[in-house]
Assembly symmetry: C2
Homo-oligomer: 354 residues x 2
């Protein structure tokens, strides 16, 4: 693979990054290319942890921003190499999630030798797989000082808009129990699937809150995302499991959310299988307000959970800002309008040079 | 394997049959032994179809009974060879389902050279697997004349009581549909699992009929036997499937049962996946009444579907009568009190010699 040329446009650089295969767990080649491209830039201190690369200015500014993107992608499905069509759309795995953002960060890291705030640029690994493998999580546990900052921007696809914070997410298994019997003598058993009726009725009737946090309106949701039960075609089943996913506004902690769900399903055996705090948008910070002003459009709430919550857990307010439609993030026809890549580059550049 | 000795007691003969491995599809060795043991008995015409063996008297009696048992078993699970304990319990795969019955039939076929009615004795294959493989079904399609009779007894385990006819059985998949969305934006989707709430509520509230047919009270049942749905932990699912099993009294045909279930779930996409008519007990026939009198206890209804329905489909009223507790039929600790084997032998012998 040829070295990355950071003098190319951010759109060209996006295509270059997309064309280096980097499905989660296979990021080393791309991380090496990123590190090698940054090393010559003497205004940057370049650090490496596994397949995460960090480059930071040390200009003694009063304030510091961390700006991050992940290098890995979900599996490729006949959608590489990248292809730029005549309508200014760049197609291919990773164009949205999130090599467009990574390319902008690389270009600006190299070019902005004298930014208005100190910047810690981060490219990390394993965002698309199990949380315990997440490269940003690893660095935040083992090298929290590398991430120290007053404000964070994560280049998640947002259609080039600022999306503040994120909702938290909780998953729980709600289990009903009964007694097995041959279905020819159903009265001898106690049907656990039938007992799930009120659980589903509660979910069907549930009205989710919309909550304002730091000026943004967060809409919640409570959904069954799975249901299973049954032993065989002639057996009254003794167990059924409904898996629910609760997306909660960042005014609640994970603990609040768990207590709420436990109370809602108090009559049932409930096990929490996954719980991640949300993140407040932190848009009351003057640094954040200056960024919003530079981008020039109002911030929106982020509904999906993203790694901004890892910054929030370090006490760093964080927003999402990157090119691409999040609904196309893992789609086989993943594609980004190059205009959005250029717009995100301009937004960050304006803020960091003003 | 040594030849079967039909002069041994029916209990000893049960152990001999149990000790010949005959999981469905592997019945040839046992069928060969049965055929070879019967061939020397000149009062019997011995017929063979695949691994089914038929032996019949041709005494010109006014009436004929068919008495049948299946040679195959469900898979062995460390429960062979057979073992007779000190309390008169014979343990092992097939002791209940249904080599005790097969042994009684073999012994009586050999000994009763002059029965009161002509008898067609049947030992068949593949009862424990897919219906299309069933040996009795095969013979009834290809050689219905071999099964011609006025009354049928099937040696299914009934704790040595007469259980008349059987309920029918219908399975259906009830499908709800919605629209996928990311669960972080649940309002953009339409949750198919939530839509299954009224299906489960209907099942939970359902009150099954009890119906008298030919003097026996058949209890029905409607059970969810399976439920599934879900795409991933962060996706509002677009489909859920509830599988129900309806056990219907033999006053309904399969067609009646299907119409009833389609009306009950008229609001849903419903697909019938399995449907088998039940069987009337036919206990109004004098031949059946004489049999009940010989056994000496009142007949009960059979709830589970059995191959008596195959006789019913040929126009032959049929009852179940065999040693063993049906609840132990497929259990790893399958076992039969030898007293029940002896009782079934005596019941059939009394009837056929009176």
């Amino acid at each position: 693979m040829p070295a990355l040329d950071l003098t190319r446009t951010s759109v060209e650089l996006t295509a270059d990054l997309v064309d280096v295969f980097s499905v989660s767990g296979s990021e080393t080649e791309l991380a090496d290319l990123v590190e090698q491209a940054l090393r010559p830039h003497t205004h940057l201190e370049v650090l490496r942890d596994g397949d995460a690369v960090i480059a930071r200015t040390n200009l003694g500014r009063a304030r510091r921003a961390v700006i991050a993107g992940h290098l890995d992608t979900v599996p490729v499905n006949d959608n590489l190499p990248s292809r730029l069509d005549g309508d200014g759309i760049l197609w291919g795995r990773g164009t949205v999630d999130m090599k467009g953002g990574c390319a902008v960060l690389l270009k600006l890291a190299a070019e902005l030798t004298d930014p208005a705030v100190d910047v810690t640029w981060v490219w990390y690994d394993n965002e698309e797989v199990a949380a315990e493998l997440n490269g940003l999580g690893r660095v935040s546990r083992t090298r929290p000082d590398w991430l120290a900052a007053d404000f964070a921007i994560l280049a998640e696809p947002t259609d080039a808009e600022i999306e503040g914070g994120c909702n938290g997410t909780l998953r729980a298994e709600i289990r009903t129990r009964g007694r097995r019997a041959h279905s020819a003598r159903a009265w001898a058993g106690d049907n656990a699937i039938h007992k799930a009726a009120p659980v589903l009725a509660l979910l069907a009737a549930y009205e989710a809150r919309t909550v304002e946090v730091d000026g943004l309106a967060y809409r919640e949701g409570l959904s069954a995302v799975g249901i299973s039960g049954g032993v065989a075609g002639n057996v009254v089943p003794d167990e059924a499991v409904v898996t629910v996913n609760y997306r909660f506004a960042p005014d609640k902690t994970g603990g609040d959310a768990e207590a709420y769900i436990r109370e809602l399903f108090a009559d049932y055996d409930l096990r929490i299988t996954d719980l991640a705090d949300g993140a407040r948008p932190g848009l009351d910070d003057p640094l954040a307000q200056a960024f919003v002003a530079s981008v020039g459009s109002a911030a929106r709430p982020k509904y999906g959970w993203t790694d901004v919550a890892r910054f929030a857990a370090l006490g760093i307010p964080a927003v999402n800002y990157g090119p691409g439609d999040p609904a196309l993030a893992h789609a086989d026809d993943e594609r980004v309008p190059v205009e959005q890549i250029e717009r995100v580059e301009a937004g960050l550049r304006t803020w960091l040079t003003s």
